[in-house]
């Protein structure tokens, strides 16, 4: 399938799943999975870095519209989009011969898990910190970050593993 089309479809699917389903999931008030970042994680490997940053900012802004927040998701997504190429350079050796969407088959399971885990944690730290807006209740924010990161990661890696079969 056309790489543009497949990414647009993935964008719509990720955002609508997040908005309609996962945003309503709030386990004990601390744990909400943010799986829409799978769209940003899976963007084509050869995407220019400036474009990736802009796509990240735009995606975050769209989520902000749906979550009635400004800048919260945007800051987290910009951070994620900035870190992703650096992590790919770090964990994937022969990056130059690869092209197309990032997935397990392309870059290998271990590098994929590393990249996804770090990006998820980075996104969640940024998002929950900006959202809380202050250092008070920092322990609650920390619990939210840890619980939500674990759940988000499990859902996303589970989906990617199932998709592979």
């Amino acid at each position: 399938m056309n790489i543009w089309l497949s990414n647009i479809i993935r964008f719509v699917l990720c955002i609508s799943l997040q908005v309609l389903l996962f945003n309503n999931l709030n386990i004990y008030g601390i744990c909400t999975p943010y799986i829409y970042i799978l769209f940003l994680v899976s963007l084509p490997i050869e995407l220019p870095r400036w474009a990736e940053l802009l796509i990240g900012a735009a995606t975050g802004l769209v989520m902000d519209v749906f979550c009635s927040s400004i800048g919260v998701h945007m800051s987290a997504c910009v951070l994620l989009s900035y870190l992703r190429p650096l992590l790919i350079n770090l964990f994937v050796q022969d990056k130059e011969r690869l092209s197309g969407d990032v997935d397990i088959d392309k870059i290998g399971l271990q590098p994929y898990i590393n990249i996804l885990a770090i990006l998820t944690v980075a996104h969640h730290i940024m998002m929950f910190t900006v959202e809380s807006g202050s250092a008070s209740m920092w322990w609650l924010t920390l619990i939210r970050i840890v619980a939500s990161s674990i759940l988000s990661f499990v859902i996303m890696i589970g989906y990617e593993l199932l998709r592979r079969r």
Binding site: S69, G71, S75, G133
Partner: protein
């Protein structure tokens, strides 16, 4: 100057990242209510549209709960209506305040049919209310459309109801308007129809007349809808009409019911005992 430009080019991505990050953080920190409303009035139409569709869909999943709530409300209103009726009757008879029986002589308990049997001669229903909810044997059961049957047995949590479509059940009914009494029974064939017996030939009944409970039994209050006369057959050798009644209650889609609890039944029975 050139080296500065080179430096900028080298770190352009980092600068862009920092610029976007700063922008988003400023937005996040400095969002006053005014900015928020400006931002969201322009963007709200899409998210609002999405959420309204999502709500429409999720509403379907709440229909069951809503339905139960409505039925509880119906039972409550039936109780209230009954109390008001009694008060009005008392007022019309100019009784002193203390003798107006506005307390509930009848109560309606809301229940749900959890098992229906409609294709045998001796059908029964199971409902999810039992003795701990105040349901006991011989209480009448009605649905929103019409009467359903009579409770035959209850344990703590469930009750068995003998429905109208059971050949062993006979219910005292009247033709609405003329107040002639007949006995409704089922012939064991079609769960949509029952027969009204013991209606003498001189009484004029027509197809389309409404059949309601007579109120002569303790199970049902007066004037509960039973059905509508489908056809009337009269043969010269028979002293009674053969009246076929289309039942108001649809037993194929029965779900929510009310159980009629008659609070004055013991008083009534005890006074009736004295003359036996």
């Amino acid at each position: 100057m050139r080296s500065l430009l080179q430096l900028l080019a080298r770190y352009s991505i980092l600068l862009m990242f920092l610029a976007l990050e700063t922008l988003s953080l400023i937005l996040a920190v400095k969002n006053s209510e005014y900015q928020r409303s400006r931002f969201f009035t322009s963007a709200n139409s899409i998210s609002g549209w999405t959420y309204s569709i999502a709500t429409n869909i999720s509403d379907y999943f709440h229909l069951k709960g809503e339905n139960e709530k409505l039925n509880e409300e119906v039972a409550r209103l039936q109780n209230e209506n009954n109390a008001l009726k009694n008060t009005i009757i008392g007022l019309q008879e100019n009784k002193p305040q203390d003798y107006i029986y506005s307390d509930l002589d009848k109560e309606f308990i809301n229940g749900k049919v959890i098992n229906v049997n409609k294709n045998k001669a001796h059908n029964y229903l199971t409902i999810n209310k039992g003795t701990r909810d105040g349901v006991n044997a011989d209480m009448g059961v009605i649905s929103g459309n019409g009467i359903v049957g009579i409770v035959s047995a209850s344990n703590e949590r469930f009750s068995i109801v003998i429905p109208v479509i059971n050949t062993s059940l006979h219910i005292s009914c009247k033709v609405k308007g003329s107040n002639h009494i007949g006995s409704l029974s089922w012939d064991g064939k079609d769960y949509r129809y029952a027969n009204l017996e013991d209606l003498a030939k001189h009484i004029v009944v027509n197809a389309g007349d409404t059949i309601a409970t007579s109120g002569y039994t303790t199970n049902f209050p007066e004037d509960m809808l039973v059905g509508v006369i489908e056809e009337v057959k009269t043969s010269p050798s028979d002293a009674y009409h053969k009246v076929r009644v289309r039942l108001a209650t649809d037993f194929s889609s029965l779900s929510q019911v009310s159980i009629v609890k008659n609070n004055t039944i013991e008083e009534q029975l005890s006074i009736e005992q004295t003359i036996k």
